[in-house]
């Protein structure tokens, strides 16, 4: 088929926007020491120590920034274990035995509204750094960095698009934590001294849009409004979102803040609310567990540090247990596949997908051009693939693969089932080396 893809067919009969299940906090909670961005870490607690919820138990070192590690449960430190992290690496985890009391660290003081109104952008940056806020949409980029400039911000975009198919965790968050997300947006308006917030939601979530519009009538003229955008993929990519929400085309290599735009994921906004209001780090999040390899796909509201096997048990385990499975953290288009289901939910895991493995054989490329037509960054994946096969560095650089955002559309549309995105990843590696 010679046609670009704009919408990815969602699965019928899998998850939908099912209300989330609140899981009991399991007996053992695991907290990662290292993560994808930080390779070194220091742990302040030792076996047998008592920790509170939200207590600082260590510090990660990511080279140019430091990231505090907080306990997401109260209990006794029980030991250290190795499990798979979201990034696909085996990482040491701190195991905490849950005492089921959920006591918050008494040193974390809530702020009154008057105090919050007086906070400056630098204060926000400090609070978020101490609370280890990162982009919860999956990027795990430290949020405070976005506050570390004094550019004039005219509009804040809230990314609630969740353009990947199958997953609806953000929709659940928005419906179930409506007031807190709106409060979080108000804090962002204080931080950036900005008068306009747009919540970008997919058009197809009609009930969600209606709900927000109804609720926002109470705060009319405060500047927060819902901005329905198309059901396209990759609409959640910030450049595509800005383009469809504001009509501004940001050239590659420039930051949105240069154009007076700041953007945040909706779950990050929820985390910002908790951090600013109560000084608490993120200890909970919404997760979709779905895919055709899962017996009962469900949405969950879980404590960070829950082992994934607990969630899989709640979902009734694997469907068709005799078939081989592909195990993915993240969405079906960009998520990382793990070699084992022995994995821990960290802050940035948005969803868990289990698919029955389908072995697709690659055919010859017939140059149909679907990948070229589909590419959101106007690259030519087929040409880059040819250049990689020929090890032609000059050609690779001229084709500019570093613009690629790895959305995966070129592989998705390929008529011959070629994994084009893999070639582009290799081209990016080529292009980075001198």
């Amino acid at each position: 088929m010679i046609a670009p893809v704009t919408t990815i067919a969602d699965t019928k009969g899998l998850l939908g926007t099912l209300p989330s299940l609140r899981l009991d906090v399991p007996d053992y909670i695991y907290t990662a020491t290292d993560n994808a961005r930080c390779s070194k870490s220091e742990i302040f607690v030792k076996e047998g120590d008592h920790v509170y919820m939200g207590q600082l138990i260590g510090m990660r070192d990511g080279g140019f920034f430091k990231q505090p590690i907080h306990s997401s449960v109260s209990g006794i430190v029980d030991g250290f274990e190795e499990h798979y992290h979201r990034s696909g690496k085996k990482v040491k985890f701190v195991r905490v035995k849950n005492d089921h009391k959920d006591e918050w660290d008494p040193s974390l003081k809530p702020r009154s509204d008057e105090e919050i109104a007086k906070l400056s952008r630098a204060d926000f940056s400090k609070i978020l750094e101490d609370c280890a806020m990162v982009g919860l949409g999956g990027s795990s980029f430290p949020t405070y960095v976005k506050f570390n400039n004094d550019k004039k911000i005219e509009v804040i975009l809230i990314n609630a698009i969740e353009c990947e198919p199958y997953i609806t965790a953000d929709v659940r968050l928005m419906e179930e934590e409506l007031e807190k997300t709106i409060e979080g947006m108000k804090y962002l308006m204080i931080a950036f001294d900005c008068k306009k917030v747009l919540i970008c939601v997919k058009k197809k979530h009609k009930s969600l849009i209606k709900m927000y519009q109804e609720f926002l009538r109470r705060d009319e003229n405060k500047g927060i409004s819902v901005c329905p955008v198309g059901n396209f993929y990759p609409q959640g990519w910030e450049i595509a979102m800005i383009k469809s929400a504001l009509g501004i085309d940001i050239p590659s290599g420039h930051l949105p803040s240069e154009f007076g735009i700041a953007n945040f994921n909706v779950s990050t906004v929820w985390g910002i609310y908790e951090a600013v209001k109560y000084n608490r780090p993120v200890v909970e999040r919404f997760i979709s567990v779905t895919g055709d390899g899962i017996r009962y796909p469900s949405n969950f509201r879980v404590r960070i540090g829950t082992p994934l096997k607990v969630l899989l048990d709640k979902c009734g385990g694997y469907a068709d247990p005799e078939k081989d499975k592909v195990f993915i953290l993240g969405g079906p288009m960009m998520g990382a596949s793990l070699p084992s289901d022995d994995c821990i939910i960290t802050k940035t895991v948005t969803s868990v997908l289990v698919f029955n493995h389908v072995a697709a054989e690659e055919g010859p490329c017939i140059r149909c051009g679907s990948c070229v037509y589909s590419c959101p960054t106007h690259l030519e994946p087929k040409q880059i693939m040819d250049a990689v096969k020929a090890f032609d560095k000059e050609r690779i650089k001229a084709l500019n693969p570093l613009r690629c955002i790895e959305c995966g559309l070129c592989t998705y549309v390929c008529t011959s089932h070629i994994r084009v995105t893999d070639y582009i990843r290799r081209a990016k590696m080529f292009a980075k080396t001198k």
């Binding site: 088929m1 010679i2 893809v5 990815i8 198919p165 694997y318 247990p321 005799e322 078939k323 081989d324 499975k325 592909v326 993915i328 993240g330 079906p332 288009m333 960009m334 998520g335 596949s337 793990l338 070699p339 084992s340 289901d341 997908l353 698919f355 493995h357 697709a360 054989e361 055919g363 010859p364 490329c365 017939i366 140059r367 149909c368 051009g369 070229v372 037509y373 590419c375 106007h378 030519e380 087929k382 040409q383 250049a387 050609r395 001229a398 084709l399 790895e406 995966g408 559309l409 592989t411 998705y412 549309v413 390929c414 008529t415 011959s416 089932h417 994994r419 995105t421 893999d422 990843r425």
Partner: protein, 378 residues
Amino acid sequence: MSIIKETSPHIHRKDSLARMLIDVLVSLSPVSITAIIVFGLPALRNLLISVAVMMAAEFVFVLIMNRIPYDGTKHTFKEQFLHGCKAYRIHHILAPIVSGVIFALIMPSGSNPGYVIYIALILGSLFGIVIGKLVFGGTGQNIFNPAAAGMVFAKLCFGSRYVYGTNGYVNAVSSGGTMLSDVASSSSSLISRYEAIEQYSALDMFLGRIPGTLGETFKFAILLGLIYLLIRRAADYRVVISYLGGYAVLMAIAGIFVSVRGGVNYGQWMAFSLLSGGVLFGATYMFTDPVTMPINAPGRVMYGLLGAGLTATIRLFGALPEGVAFSILICNLVAPALDHYTYSGNRFTKKKVLFTCGIFAAFVLAICLGLGFTGVAA
């Protein structure tokens, strides 16, 4: 159950190479069926010969390309054969069928003497698939359209022996040739030779009641196939529109000169230009071959316009009656140049639009000069 690691993305569009090739075969079926009804057994014979030759050549190619890697021991022919057969895929069957059917449909139904058509079909399809496609590495690697390459080869070798349209359905006025070859072989001048085109009505041309090759005269059947291809998105509409549109514009401009200076009815001229020869067939099945065209949208539009210009100029000024297959081959040669990495891209930049307009204007100028100052004096 085991857990398998793979790279993202993890889902695929429901689509396959086989689906695309079957779509092309389905879209070829109206033309093929009409050809078999009208021409009877010779049509079926021609189709079977060219398909069989192309499939056999592709099968041998698969065997040669998939030998057992050298490991010090000697393998029997049977082992080699079975190992090669393991690499035989569905597209190795479907792709030669598509090429073979297209090739048969652009060849004449018979010849004089009768045995020449067998030689022409066998050698033409062999040349088409081997030189046009397999020497470059098979499906997806070829730079020439196999059917066009084979047709041109057969035409150059055996063209003078062809016999077109020898059955009751066709309103044969001349014996042996086509409308276009009648015009081209006419001894009168560039413009006045078109007086002869009024012997066929537009309806006759649309229904295929004119002498011509096996398939390309049945315009209604080709249009059905074209619509099917475009609905199923198995053909790129950009090439079809730019080729047919560009050709229609150029012929409309040429028609002004022909009707004013040669006294030919303008409507008849347009019907003759669009409905004779292989323009529609080439636009539907040969220009839309994705393998041999550029990969991005501006390249494809340029490719179609270039083909239109070449077809129009060969037809108006060339020594040969029909320019479609030749213009396809020349465009195939230009396609890699249109794809060159220093300027390729999927966006219509100002430069590219200007360049395309420049090429098209050059063809318009050539036609205006060629028909405006020469050709009337007989």
